[in-house]
């Protein structure tokens, strides 16, 4: 037995030597969610080779985390998903001694993230954003009048108003845990309520505008908004800005606005975390620390137009971005943001089922 262990140790020494030469880090992040040169810079600085994969739904990531052996070292789940996955034992605690850049983080926002990860033990904020309304300024003005000010969820939730926009296309996120609370909020209910009646009421409102919605999808709207194929999208802040940016690039005359409606909106955090069975946690820590560097985070925000939680990076972020209330909301708007509720299994099922009813009528 002893001999075997010695042999095993010797083998791992060799393996370690080999790894120092050619370490790899497997990252799994949202699509279009990083600056063009971030990975390059990280590789140059650390000599670690990065394998970078992308996904575009929390569900897909979650399936991999819950199955285990995903092979990823760093993943970026959204806060409410993260909470559940922590409960399932999918992540390892961060070794904060390896993350000196944590000092750069905004304590208020980190505090907000503690709703999902008490003590920030497992994760740190990558980017954050809101779920609001993106719209084609001219198309909406054409249908609702030049004077109409887009500042309310009534744009999509009032059947009469959304009915006027149906012909040019309304899209909603295919995300029941974001859409139903938004509807509840519009009805004056607590968006974080898990009461079945409240959820039913939200779903019922959605059903009344169902026929005005062209589709429910969580990424398609970026292109469609940019091309003028749709004119209103309930979407994630950064994605709407990406559409805005693409429309500008294309010079196709499409002007896009993003608004956090006066009634309030969901605030969410995308969190960097390390799977419990990550092959290379050491490199994972290095990467997380690297991202928390002020300049690197600023670069990412400047590229993806999502807000970060890195206080030190603020001076380095494009003033156009920091001053945009759609990205960095005003204090007044901030007060009306709500955090996502994490449902238990039964509520999850209720919400999914309601959502199916909203979408299909069955």
């Amino acid at each position: 037995m002893k001999k075997l262990i010695v042999l095993g140790a010797a083998a791992s020494v060799f393996a370690g030597a080999a790894m120092a030469q050619e370490q790899t880090l497997n990252i799994y992040n949202w699509s279009d969610y990083i600056a063009e040169d971030t990975i390059e810079k990280f590789e140059a600085e650390t000599g670690i080779k990065v394998v970078y994969d992308v996904y575009d739904s929390n569900e897909v990531l979650e399936a991999k985390m819950l199955t285990g052996n995903s092979g990823y070292d760093v993943v970026v789940p959204t806060s409410d998903f993260l909470q559940r996955q922590i409960a399932a034992g999918a992540y390892q605690k961060l070794d904060k001694s390896q993350l000196p850049n944590l000092v750069n983080m905004d304590p208020d926002l980190m505090k907000g993230a503690e709703t999902y990860d008490p003590g920030n033990e497992y994760s740190t904020i990558y980017m954050w954003g809101t779920t609001g309304i993106g719209y084609n300024i001219n198309a909406v003005a054409e249908r609702l009048g030049e004077d109409y000010e887009v500042n309310s969820w009534e744009l999509v939730f009032d059947p009469e108003i959304s009915g006027k926009l149906a012909d040019c296309g309304i899209s909603m996120l295919d995300a029941p845990s974001e859409m139903i609370p938004a509807a509840m909020n519009y009805l004056g209910l607590d968006p974080r309520s898990t009461d079945k009646d409240d959820l039913e009421a939200g779903a019922a409102l959605l059903e009344t505008v169902r026929d005005n919605v062209r589709y429910f999808h969580s990424s398609q709207y970026i292109n469609d908004l940019a091309n003028g194929d749709i004119c209103v999208a309930v979407g994630w802040s950064g994605d709407v800005f990406q559409a805005l940016y693409r429309a500008e690039e294309a010079e196709n005359g499409v002007e896009i606005g993003y608004v956090i409606p006066d009634e309030g909106a969901l605030q969410w955090f995308d969190m960097m975390a390390i799977p419990v069975d990550a092959p290379n946690p050491e490199a994972a820590h290095k990467f997380i620390n690297f991202v928390m560097d002020a300049q690197i985070t600023a670069d990412i925000t400047n590229y993806v137009w999502y807000a970060n939680a890195n206080k030190a990076s603020m001076p380095l972020v494009d003033p156009d971005i920091t001053s945009d209330p759609g990205i960095f909301p005003t204090e007044a708007a901030k007060a009306r943001l709500w955090a996502a509720q994490v449902y238990d299994a039964r509520t999850d099922r209720t919400v999914t089922r309601l959502w199916t009813r909203v979408k299909t009528g069955t």
């Binding site: 985390m65 819950l66 199955t67 409960a87 999918a90 012909d167 062209r214 003028g228 999850d348 089922r353």
Partner: protein, 317 residues
């Protein structure tokens, strides 16, 4: 006869193999049957059993997200089977409606694929030799590009400012774009397009064997071309029609990607319901129960069909 036996017997390899087989009590025949059986065991039965197992457990916030089916506790094996997942499928009309809708979409798609595929297969089978190979290549060609890419190409064709709408508007047939994306129509287009080769190839394989003199005989006996087709070509190509239809119908029932990308929110298909159970509800047991139920829904009619065909053959002999 004798010579042939001696010839094979003289190869030392074959002889050794035979001796080995004889010792293990296996004949070459058994071996020939064993290989596909083994294949089915590994690639069909094993995954099926895993899914069946999960369908009988209970969802949990864990990794993996369900409770184990059996447990050792104080020297006792405790097996807990949870049939509630199946009960659940019966309680909510959603599942039953989704199955029905999937079957309807698949059946109609199969019909359209048949209506398009049959003339194409017929034409290819009757084409001159060199053209025929070219046409077959064209049928298979789409497989050389990614399936997703081809579905995305359809988005480009069908969408509001896509190829079709732009063309129709430029020649002034319509003023505003026809909404084709996110409709059942787009789903039918996607499924028929994707699975068409699976309809054409077996039909072609059947029709190319069709003896032309049979058609001449029918014509000679007074059958007009349409009658000849209905009384000779069509019945004789039945095996091809059945094979092609199965190859289209079965995968179409469980199709997820096409309705997800091309379909509207109200396109109800069991593949999507399954996706929801698995990803949105994280309820792997119910998802597995949906999958098993889908298999039953598919396998039972296929087996009935198979049986009726076997009986027909038996009756014939």
């Amino acid at each position: 006869m004798n010579g042939a036996v001696e010839k094979t017997g003289s190869s030392p390899f074959v002889a050794t193999l035979k001796r080995l087989l004889a010792r293990t009590g296996l004949s070459g025949r058994t071996l020939v049957i064993a290989i596909p059986v083994l294949w089915l065991l590994i690639f069909f039965l094993a995954p099926f059993l895993v899914v069946a197992k999960i369908s009988l457990s209970e969802a949990a916030i864990a990794r993996p997200p369900y409770l184990p089916l059996w447990e050792w506790s104080e020297g006792m094996l405790i097996i807990s089977l949870n049939f509630a997942n199946y009960q659940y499928l019966l309680d909510d009309a959603l599942y039953y409606l989704s199955y029905l809708s999937s079957l309807k979409i698949s059946a109609l798609s199969t019909l359209f694929a048949l209506l398009i595929g049959y003339p194409v297969a017929y034409m290819i089978a009757r084409a001159p030799d060199n053209t025929r190979n070219l046409l077959l290549m064209l049928v298979i060609l789409p497989f050389w590009t990614s399936f997703l890419l081809r579905v995305y190409a359809w988005i480009g064709i069908l969408k509001g400012n896509g190829v079709i709408n732009n063309f129709l508007m430029s020649i002034g047939i319509i003023d505003s774009p026809i909404v084709m994306m996110q409709t059942d129509f787009a789903v039918y287009v996607g499924i028929v397009y994707t699975y068409l080769p699976f309809m054409i190839l077996p039909l072609y394989a059947n029709l190319v064997k069709l003896d032309e003199s049979l058609l001449e005989a029918a014509s000679d006996l007074g059958a007009r071309p349409l009658t000849t087709f209905l009384t000779i070509t069509l019945p004789l190509s039945m095996p091809g029609i059945v094979a092609g239809s199965m190859l289209v119908f079965i995968p179409a029932v469980g199709e997820f990607v096409i309705p997800a990308l091309l379909g509207g929110p109200d396109t109800l298909m069991i593949g999507r319901v399954l996706w929801n159970e698995f990803f949105s509800n994280r309820d792997w047991p119910v998802a597995s129960a949906v999958a098993i139920a889908m298999l039953v829904v598919l396998v039972v009619p296929v087996m009935i069909l198979q049986r009726s065909q076997d009986e027909k053959e038996e009756a014939a002999s």
